[in-house]
């Protein structure tokens, strides 16, 4: 028995490995070279960026990605005579997309580090920066980087800030001082941690630090920088042609000389400080976009999830009932285990890197990941609620001469559905809350506007507002689901009542007082 179980697990493992390898190979082949001609032919320039990096790239109040890098990107696209296709990713996501041919160029305020220098082709430097500490204005005890010895320091994950602080601690001014480093998902999160006093200071690129300090009176920049000067460059996928690199380097030299670059920098620092202190009405657009994306994502993934879930549940229940569909059942089981056993985030990245070859949108990947993931859970919910239906109900149907399919369709599934409503509702609400991780693929959900606005206004209410929007959506879903449940229960009754209402005469009711009750 034990051996049998083991071989089963082993075959599954092997199958998973094979699937993984096939996908991996698929990822390796078929990488056409990025040339100017190819770009022109395609008509788009795909730019990868992480829009949480003032002032290089960020969402403006209307939810559009703007910034210094984006100005340059637009310029390049114009010069090439192609459309600009900006694909937001998390900072880690950019690197993986780049290695998967998910884009033509990464423009994300990325510093030239020795590791990246060797791995990816890059442009000439277009800006330089230092790492500077940002801290709360009322911290009088910290005046030099050395004063941070033994304190907690925050930095965004996978950035040069992180590398810099680590280097400083292992082998620099902060060596042997018990200084703690905390890593956060992006700049917003790190600033939030600072303001909530989870960390004593945060390390960011000097431009970013200065913009934040200018926007927010509670924050100040430590004047002396940490570590060495850094150069910002654009990175390319490995299969880029030299002519593209030369073409873009020319543009960079051009804007450095003619002052456009300085214009961009001035514009984006200015716009930020101005806008956040003025009309908050502009935020409505950002929130609306978040609301639209969140509800859209939830609705579509829910529908996809229900379709997939019902299909899988049908195969598996049918198999249990009648013993056929053996192969499909095994496949469905494997599918369920794979999707249940791997993180949603990973699935999202995987689909994205698969799709990015022929699609410029990150939406399909996100929807597919969410839909399949929730489909798997829905199928398990349905399956277990089929199991909950009393076995005597099957028997009663068999006695009357119903076939397996009829029994399922007429008796078991309707009851199972009714049993499953509470658990389904659970699944949908966690689906709704999970949509916030779609931000890793650059999709604005209801979380970013709240974080952004709360940061700009230094108030709590954006969180409450965003929270109540989530709450409203789930309320809506729960009402719809309960309505469907009641509707499906009442359907037959309503239908017959209209036909039969005439036949129930008052006197019938009198003479039919049941004895058991009377």
């Amino acid at each position: 028995m034990k051996i049998l179980v083991r071989t089963k697990i082993l075959t599954k493992l092997i199958l998973v490995l094979i699937i993984g390898c096939v996908m991996g190979f698929y990822g390796c082949k078929n990488k056409p070279k990025v040339t100017i001609e190819a770009l022109k032919e395609r008509g788009t320039l795909v730019v990868l960026t992480d829009p949480t990096f003032y002032p290089y790239e960020y969402y403006n109040r209307k939810g559009k990605i703007v910034g210094i890098d984006m100005e340059i990107a637009q310029l390049i696209a114009n010069k090439l005579g192609v459309d600009l296709d900006i694909r937001p990713r998390s900072f880690e996501g950019i690197i993986s997309s780049l290695s998967n041919n998910g884009g033509d160029i990464a423009m994300a305020g990325m510093s030239l580090t020795p590791e990246k220098q060797d791995t990816y082709p890059h442009s000439m430097p277009y800006a330089d920066a230092h790492q500077k500490f940002l801290l709360l204005s009322n911290r009088k005890d910290i005046e030099e980087p050395q004063d941070l010895a033994g304190k907690k320091i925050g930095a965004p994950i996978a950035t040069t800030s992180m590398t810099c602080i680590r280097k400083e601690i292992t082998n620099g001014t902060l060596k042997d001082t018990n200084t703690e480093v905390m890593s956060y998902g992006n700049t917003y999160e790190v600033i939030q941690a600072l303001k909530s006093k989870h960390v004593d200071a945060v390390l960011l690129d000097s431009d970013t630090s200065e913009v934040y300090a200018k926007k927010d009176k509670c924050l100040k920049v430590l004047p002396s920088p940490l570590g060495e000067e850094e150069k910002y460059v654009f990175f390319y996928p490995k299969n880029v042609s030299d002519e593209v690199i030369r073409f873009i380097d020319n543009i960079i030299t051009g804007i450095k000389v003619n002052g456009r670059l300085e214009e961009f920098r001035a514009k984006h620092r200015l716009v930020n400080t101005d806008e956040s202190s003025t009309a908050e009405g502009g935020w409505t657009g950002f929130f609306l976009k978040g609301l639209k994306n969140t509800t859209g994502l939830v609705c579509i993934s829910m529908i996809l999830g229900i379709v997939v879930g019902v299909l899988i549940a049908f195969i598996r229940v049918q198999h249990r009932f009648s013993g056929n569909l053996n192969l499909s059942n095994k496949a469905a089981g494997l599918f369920v285990q794979i999707f249940r056993g791997t993180p949603l985030m990973l699935q999202m990245y995987m689909f994205d890197s698969l799709f990015s070859r022929f699609l410029s949108l990150s939406w399909p990947a996100v929807i597919l990941a969410f839909g399949l993931n929730s489909g798997v859970y829905i199928s398990e919910i349905l399956r277990s609620s089929v199991g909950e239906v009393d076995s005597s109900q099957y028997e009663a149907a068999r006695i009357l001469g119903f076939s397996n399919n009829q029994t399922l369709k007429l008796v078991i599934l309707p009851q199972a559905f009714r049993n499953s409503v509470p658990t389904l509702l659970n699944e949908f609400s966690s689906l709704l809350k999970d949509t916030s991780i779609a931000s890793a693929m650059g999709i604005v959900t209801l979380v970013q506007p709240a974080v952004d606005l709360s940061w700009a206004t230094n108030k709590m209410w954006p969180f409450c507002f965003s929270g109540s929007l989530y709450f409203l959506i789930i309320l809506l879903i729960s009402h719809t689901l309960n309505w469907i449940k009641r509707w499906s229960a009442a359907k037959e009754i309503r239908k017959e009542q209209t036909k039969y209402v005439k036949r129930i005469k008052p006197e019938c009711n009198d003479m039919q007082k049941p004895k058991e009750l009377g």
Partner: protein, 215 residues
């Protein structure tokens, strides 16, 4: 009508039915009595193959229902059965419970099936529960609905497993009357009961079951 030949049923080496042979003629009303746990229900369940016999044969209307060519679903439609725990479909109203099978299996027009069902409900005095959920019925009401559900298929044979166990005396008399009526109408019946009422009034034959055999 039904001929049972050397029927044996084992549950994991535990013999419940031990070489039973009995021939039930058309329009007969056979009563099966016996102590609890002796295998009465098991015997009845073998007749429409809810349990597969370990060995032996069952001939229904000249055909072995154990042969692979036999369409057991069709046979079950012709053999009505009311179980001891009379399970009504909880997702349907009383009316839908009793009309579901005639509409779906016999392809009766909805209206006709409903009229018929309503008449039967009136006859059993539960017409006021026509739209109730089975979960809101008393035990006796459920039992009556279960009997009606079986009758709605106009079966050639009716297997009743303690059909009056949940009824009071008055209702027992009425069910008994109905069974008499059905008997007159020519339906073959096999009834498990402890009720002497049936033995006196409707039974054409009473068999006693003991140790997995009829005595």
């Amino acid at each position: 009508m039904i001929e049972i030949k050397h029927l044996v049923k084992n549950f994991n080496n535990y013999t419940v039915l031990d070489d039973i042979s009995i021939k039930i003629e058309k329009a007969e009303c056979v009563l099966i009595c016996g102590p609890s746990g002796v295998g009465k229900t098991t015997f009845l369940r073998c007749l429409n193959l809810l349990e597969r016999p370990t060995s032996g044969d069952i001939i229904f209307e000249g055909q072995s229902i154990l042969s692979p060519t036999c369409d057991i679903l069709k046979v079950r439609q012709r053999i009505g059965m009311v179980c001891q725990q009379f399970d009504l479909f909880t997702n349907y109203t009383v009316l839908d419970n009793i009309t579901l099978a005639p509409i779906k299996l016999l392809k009766k027009p909805v209206k006709e099936a409903q009229d018929e069902g309503y008449d039967l409900l009136e006859k059993f005095r539960i017409a006021d529960k026509v739209y109730s959920s089975p979960l809101r019925l008393s035990g006796g009401q459920r039992q009556r609905v279960a009997i009606i559900r079986a009758l709605m298929m106009s079966p050639a044979v009716l297997l009743l497993d303690e059909p009056t166990s949940a009824l009071d005396h008055q209702m027992q008399l009425e069910v008994c009357d109905i069974i008499k009526e059905l008997h007159k109408a020519g339906i073959t019946m096999v009834i498990i009961t402890h009720d002497t009422l049936f033995a006196e009034s409707v039974a054409t034959r009473v068999v006693q079951m003991e140790n997995g055999k009829f005595v």
